[in-house]
């Protein structure tokens, strides 16, 4: 009996020890906390940088985060937000202070804009910036990086050859016979599949396969034969593969998607230094570079953190 009582008393003590061991991770999500060997961070105010969870977003998030660190900020990273809706919600309720968003996406999906898509990248940005500033709490969309990361609808090479597919119109014609691999949001978002259907009414895929991750898995899915067509991004390395053929879009149905940091305005006001650091990063990017960085992560399996660090050093943004 005495032994039993001792055991009962020992258990809370053991559990407390276990708690101490696990306590190193209170609050931050495992795997994306600030790494031990970061220099330059600490000391300054803390900024939480978020991002959505696909390759390009991881890289953009890392680029902005590391640039801020090099400028004296203490950065927490939350690079696992599942969609722009989730990211936006986190931004507005203070869980994160900023994240990289695409001008077109913000217009159509976040800010509730219902007009015609602006006809130039610049007007797209200006409209988004304006609408962001009118929100409560207000947000500031900084100057975008100068490249367009838009949708690339692609098919497997053998499918393209079989039906002689070159443009979206061609694809629409045969779509009832094909399976389309997409991520969940693409199906119903205004600027996505419905957009395709509005402009090319023949679109009516026989089967829609939903893979709930953006990028790699969709390419894999089409290559494996789970589907015949898929949706990718024009800055993805995989789109360059010989096995895939990207459909041309003579009608230019997509809005412009230029990535820019979206920061909560109150945070930006308190920390004006952020602007310079973030703009420097955006200015250093273009389509070629983004494609290369994306490929390093998605195809060569390198870590977004390392890829970002290397790039920033090359450009002299970080020593």
């Amino acid at each position: 009996m005495k032994y039993r009582t001792k055991l009962i008393r020992a258990i809370p003590a053991l559990l407390a020890l276990l708690a101490l061991a696990a306590c190193g991770n209170v609050g931050s999500s495992g795997g994306s906390g600030p790494s031990a060997e970061d220099e330059g961070g600490g000391g300054g105010p803390t900024i939480t940088v978020g991002s959505k969870n696909f390759t390009e977003q991881y890289i953009l998030g890392e680029l902005y985060a590391q640039a801020l660190e090099a400028n004296g900020f203490n950065v927490e990273k939350k690079l696992d937000l599942g969609s722009e809706q989730i990211a936006d919600k986190a931004l507005q309720n203070g869980q994160i202070d900023m994240y990289p968003e695409y001008t077109g996406t913000s217009l159509v999906d976040v800010l509730g804009y219902e007009g015609e898509y602006p006809s130039t990248p610049e007007t797209t940005y200006q409209k988004a910036k304006e609408l962001y500033a009118q929100r409560d709490p207000a947000d500031t969309m900084l100057t975008p990086a100068q490249f367009n990361n838009t949708y690339g609808i692609f098919v497997r090479k053998d499918v393209a050859e079989k039906y002689d597919l070159k443009t979206l119109a061609d694809l629409a014609e045969v779509s009832p016979k094909l399976a389309f691999v997409i991520f969940s949001e693409f199906k119903n978002r205004e600027d996505s599949y419905p957009n395709m259907q509005r402009n090319y009414p023949a679109f009516d895929f026989g089967d829609i396969v939903i893979v709930n991750s953006i990028g790699g898995p969709i390419y894999q899915g089409v290559l494996q034969g789970e589907g015949d067509a898929g949706v990718g991004f024009t800055t993805d390395g995989q789109l360059a593969s010989d096995e895939l053929v990207v459909m041309e879009d003579p009608k230019n149905i997509w809005p412009f998607y230029y990535p820019a940091p979206v920061v909560r305005s109150d945070v930006l006001e308190k920390n004006p230094k952020m602007k310079g650091a973030l703009n420097e990063v955006s200015a250093s990017l273009n389509a070629e570079i983004m494609r290369e960085l994306n490929a390093q992560v998605a195809i060569e399996q390198e870590d977004p953190e390392d890829v970002a660090a290397e790039f920033l050093q090359e450009k002299g943004i970080v020593e």
Binding site: A22, K78, D80, K89, G215
Partner: protein, 238 residues
């Protein structure tokens, strides 16, 4: 319906047509061990531990109460049983639709606690029930108060069954905590999801294997504790 022949053929075709990525890149594991892997393990242990602790804090007193006032037992079992039947992703979904609950560890911990209540309460009651009435009478005869009887006689005797419940709850919690990563709660599930998003099998395999190892480790440790506390009983049917 599914045609076994075609299915088998398709399966073989799938296996032979997978693209290149090497299954396990040991370099990545070595390089990222302290940066990514250890925090993921820590985060996972944290989620699980906090959930088990809170669940115990709720279920032990509830179990005692319910074993005394039996009328409350069926409704309690009913409610906790329903909670237990709701698939995890669905419960997470329901919780984050409640205004005020944001994504992150909070809804996950709430759900994990909810899942383990049934097992813990049921085992607490069963354990207390198994204490022979004569033992309690004898203790009362020796002048012990009800409170003393509970802590010095009933709990120690009920411990094996309670620990059996803790074992099942802990293993379940560790398993479901992996899914919590989907709503940004961190842990080993994050490695699994990131691996899927990045088409990076190494992360998937590392996350999955570590989560499994953690669950099995907890299972075996608690099983050893349980057997230690109850050497006389033969192994219980599952």
């Amino acid at each position: 319906m599914v045609d076994p022949g075609a299915f088998g053929l398709a399966l073989l075709q799938d296996l032979s047509s997978i693209e290149e990525p090497r299954l396990i890149e040991w370099d990545w594991i070595r390089e990222n061990f302290w940066e990514d892997i250890v925090p993921a393990i820590q985060g996972h242990i944290f989620l699980s531990f906090v959930s088990v602790a809170i669940a115990l804090a709720i279920s032990l007193p509830t179990g005692v109460l319910v074993s005394r006032y039996r009328k409350a037992y069926p409704p309690v079992t009913f409610v906790t049983g329903i909670l237990y039947s709701i698939p995890s992703l669905a419960l997470f979904g329901i919780l984050i639709s409640i205004p005020g609950i944001t994504i992150g560890p909070t809804p996950v911990i709430i759900a994990l606690v909810a899942y383990s209540l049934l097992v813990l309460i049921r085992n607490t009651v069963a354990g207390l029930d198994a204490v022979p009435a004569e033992t309690i009478d004898a203790a009362r005869g020796m002048g012990l108060t009800n409170r003393q009887i509970l802590f010095k006689v009933e709990f120690p005797l009920a411990l094996p069954v309670i620990v059996a419940g803790i074992r099942i709850a802990t293993v379940t919690i560790i398993g479901i905590a992996t899914i919590g990563a989907y709503i940004a709660a961190g842990g080993l599930g994050k490695m699994i999801f990131d691996g899927i998003n990045r088409s990076f099998p190494t992360m998937i395999i590392t996350g999955a294997v570590l989560a499994t190892a953690l669950a099995i480790f907890a299972d075996l440790s608690l099983l050893a504790l349980e057997r230690h506390l109850r050497p006389w009983a033969r192994r219980r049917r599952a």
